[in-house]
């Protein structure tokens, strides 16, 4: 009978591998921890049960506005109107309107910050909740690669909502992170589903070269690899510079206006541009099946991040390529970025000193020259509330050490002389897999001849205007 709902609501004839089991567990009312790679159809596993049970609101907590926007777009596309969101984009009136009419909705998307707003929590506690879904649940773990302090309160908030059934989903999570998720969300003997992290259709390639050769090599690669292709870099500035340098490439990062972001995404989705150069801001929630190649111009900070980013390739199951360009010393930029995410030792000391001498919390950010919106200040604020000075200093030291270790593991991936796939699977506690077209260590990887994907249509403005308004 689930198949009927699947067909009626989503228009699919059958489930993708693994979806059915998760839905069974959800329908039975169990707490669930599902680790499914990007593209395996995660969202369907928490949406479909809502249509089967019809028993109240499904709340989905998600860390990024772009993710929320994207998922809502997909839900609305199939004609479901009972979906709303509470984010920083809505006005107070709009939020109130939504909270006053929660019964109208089947799905409610919100950020963890919004869920923590007292009157939001209260309003939700008064309504019938079928399930609380925590998307990108790895953000809850300090051992995860994208730890977000706002996620730390989700366990407590779940309690305030009356401990509804809870489902935690993420694409990747090693053992430590899994344990953290279960504990922090207080999942009750959850049904666990772990899909293999392996993506057999993606060939893994690492090229080691000198820093000065990277740009030249990238130009060649971009010419040779099958497209559409995504190039990941570490900073916005570099994304812009590379896009400028390459032909037929656009950049995408979090600092752009909404309209420009949407134009870029739309062009990429429609194959109007062949190459996207982006920071990690791109990709989460972008559903494009035919990405053929992912090139990393900079080494990412963790293997999880790497898996997630190369996972954008080959979602249609056709062969795809992941190329990492590594020059000695490249890791320094990631080290720098890690350091920037934590308050400096002297700032921690200064903050505690000032606080203990009666300086109000409101004045601290200015004293420390931190923006109030800066996550570093958020972290520091939280430490002031929960830890002694010595604990805080140690905690940051531990955290940084752990992050450096993760970066080291990522570097090992670039440096090893054994099968790269084995290495990745081993990291995620999986058994090795033998396959042809595996990685550059197992055998030479040859790019298929790449076709010209994009035809550029630059004409004078009158023709362009006429085409836009044409009914033919």
């Amino acid at each position: 009978m689930f198949e009927k709902t699947l067909k009626r609501v989503f228009g699919y004839d059958s489930f993708r591998p693994g979806q059915r089991e998760v839905i069974d567990a959800v329908a039975e009312g169990q707490d669930v921890l599902a680790i499914m790679p990007t593209g395996a159809g995660k969202s369907l596993t928490f949406q479909l049960p809502s249509y089967i049970k019809n028993d109240g609101l499904t709340i989905i907590v998600s860390p990024l506005l772009s993710l929320i926007e994207d998922q809502m777009l997909h839900i609305r596309e199939r004609g479901e109107r009972g979906v709303a969101r509470l984010t920083s984009m809505e006005t107070l009136e709009e939020k109130q309107e939504i909270l006053n009419h929660l019964k109208r909705y089947r799905f409610l998307y919100l950020s963890p910050e919004q869920l923590a707003v007292p009157h939001v929590t209260r309003a939700l506690a008064r309504t019938k909740i079928q399930m609380l879904v925590v998307d990108e649940a790895h953000c809850i773990s300090q051992w995860g690669h994208e730890f977000r302090p706002e996620y730390a309160r989700l366990g407590e908030l779940r309690k305030q909502l009356g401990s509804p059934q809870c489902m935690a989903v993420t694409a990747t999570a090693p053992e430590t992170v899994k344990r953290d998720i279960v504990e922090k969300l207080a999942l009750f003997s959850p049904a666990q589903f772990v899909h293999s992290a392996n993506r057999p259709e993606i060939r893994l390639i690492v090229e080691r070269l000198g820093s000065e050769d990277k740009m030249r090599r990238l130009s060649e690669l971009v010419h040779d690899v099958p497209k559409p292709a995504v190039i990941y870099t570490a900073t916005r500035r570099e994304a812009e510079a590379l896009a400028l340098h390459l032909d037929d490439a656009l950049f995408y990062h979090g600092g752009m206006s909404t309209e420009d972001r949407r134009l870029v995404q739309s062009q990429f989705l429609r194959d109007e541009v062949a190459i996207m150069v982006c920071t990690s801001a791109f990709g989460m929630g972008v559903n494009k099946d035919n990405v053929r190649s992912v090139i990393h111009y900079q080494i990412p900070a963790t293997l999880e991040a790497y898996m997630q980013e190369i996972g954008r390739a080959g979602r249609d199951g056709e062969p795809a390529f992941a190329v990492l360009l590594y020059a000695e010393g490249d890791e320094r930029i990631q080290q720098f970025l890690i350091d920037q995410q934590y308050p400096k030792d002297k700032d921690i000391r200064l903050a505690y000193f000032e606080r203990d001498n009666g300086t109000s919390l409101a004045q601290l950010p200015r004293l420390l020259r931190l923006n109030e919106e800066d996550p570093v200040w958020g972290l520091l604020n939280q430490m002031l509330a929960e830890r002694t000075l010595a604990e805080a200093v140690d905690w940051v030291k531990d955290r940084k050490r752990a992050r450096y270790r993760q970066l080291g593991q990522m570097m090992d991936y670039a440096l090893i002389k054994t099968c790269r796939r084995d290495y990745l699977l081993n990291y995620f506690s999986e058994q090795p897999v033998k396959q042809s077209d595996c990685c550059d260590i197992c055998g030479e990887i040859v790019f298929p001849p790449s076709e010209q994907l994009v035809s550029k249509n630059v004409t004078d403005w009158k023709h362009r205007l006429a085409r836009i308004f044409s009914f033919d």
Binding site: E69, L73, E77, M89, E90, E94, A243, L244, L250, F251, M256, T258, E259, D260, R262, L263, V264, Q265, S266, Q267, L269, R270, E272, N457, V458, D460, W461, K462, R464, L465, A466, R467, I468, F469, S470, F471
Partner: protein, 340 residues
Amino acid sequence: MVHLADGVLLLSIQRLKGERSERSLFHVLNGKRSATTLQDAFFYDLEPIFGLFPYTKYDYEKLLASFEKRGWLNRSSFTLTEAGSMLASPEAVSDLFDRLGGEYRDYTTMTWKRLSLFVQTFMSLEHERTFYPVQADRLAERWVKQIVRTEREWRPLIQSFHHELETALEDIGDPYATAVVYRFTGAFETGYTYEQIAALLDVDARTARLYFLAGWNALLWKLPRDAKLLGFAHGLSSERMTLSARGSYEQFLAGRSFQQVQSQRRLRTSTIEDHVVEMAMYLDEFPLDQFVPLEQIKQVEQLRDESSWALKPIFEQIDGISYYQIRLVFARLKRGETFV
């Protein structure tokens, strides 16, 4: 490389004549609707860029520092160096500057969002293509949804839109026309980012953005009064006066006195005064002599240094006049009235 966009920002500093601070320009660029900022924009001809450069304090500081470092700006006096003045002086800079229409940006922006989203939505439905909306604005989204659903003869209307756009853009010409047209998204072509438009026009992305803003603003004012496209501006106000000042103005119109307006609205004297200054700045007709004795009006006009809108020198030379009164007279002088 020096770009036109830099020229526009330099020109805004030049127009302040060293009479206002870095802070003042910051608020103008951000479009702060306070009395002081509205007056700065009005007197120093900065209305075209009002609110078009929403810098953070940090980015603004970086911008000024870079201008100083390149030898264009004296930060102590907030005036341009000779090199800076050179860059601000070409006609291309002031042409672009004066077309930007920042004072109408709420009106022009919303009209653009509605029209561009409508065109994308309608043409995509027409060609049965799924699409990714280029606008994320809820109000525009709601508006377009309602319009698209209404039953009417759409095709001839769409053809009118096309025709009206083409005629107006022909008049405005390039580079503005290209910048505007390439921002549109149809069923098969997605609009260009400012970087892509910049590449087409061989300028930088910031300049491409200004070309678009200027082109779109110019287009809206070029349309004939009965243009079908003006339907997309339905219910939007292109008025410069703040809502609050408008409230006071309506009471004045109903025949109330300053004191009556003040006690009715429960606002401070200085607030009502600011409202009156707005009326003096924006209204075609304004009874100046009801607020300032004619003798003083004349004195102000005679004493004013042609090139300056500084209040203090006047204040120090006329007994019993207030800054508020000087502002009122200045506002009318600025509008080209004369009393001598």
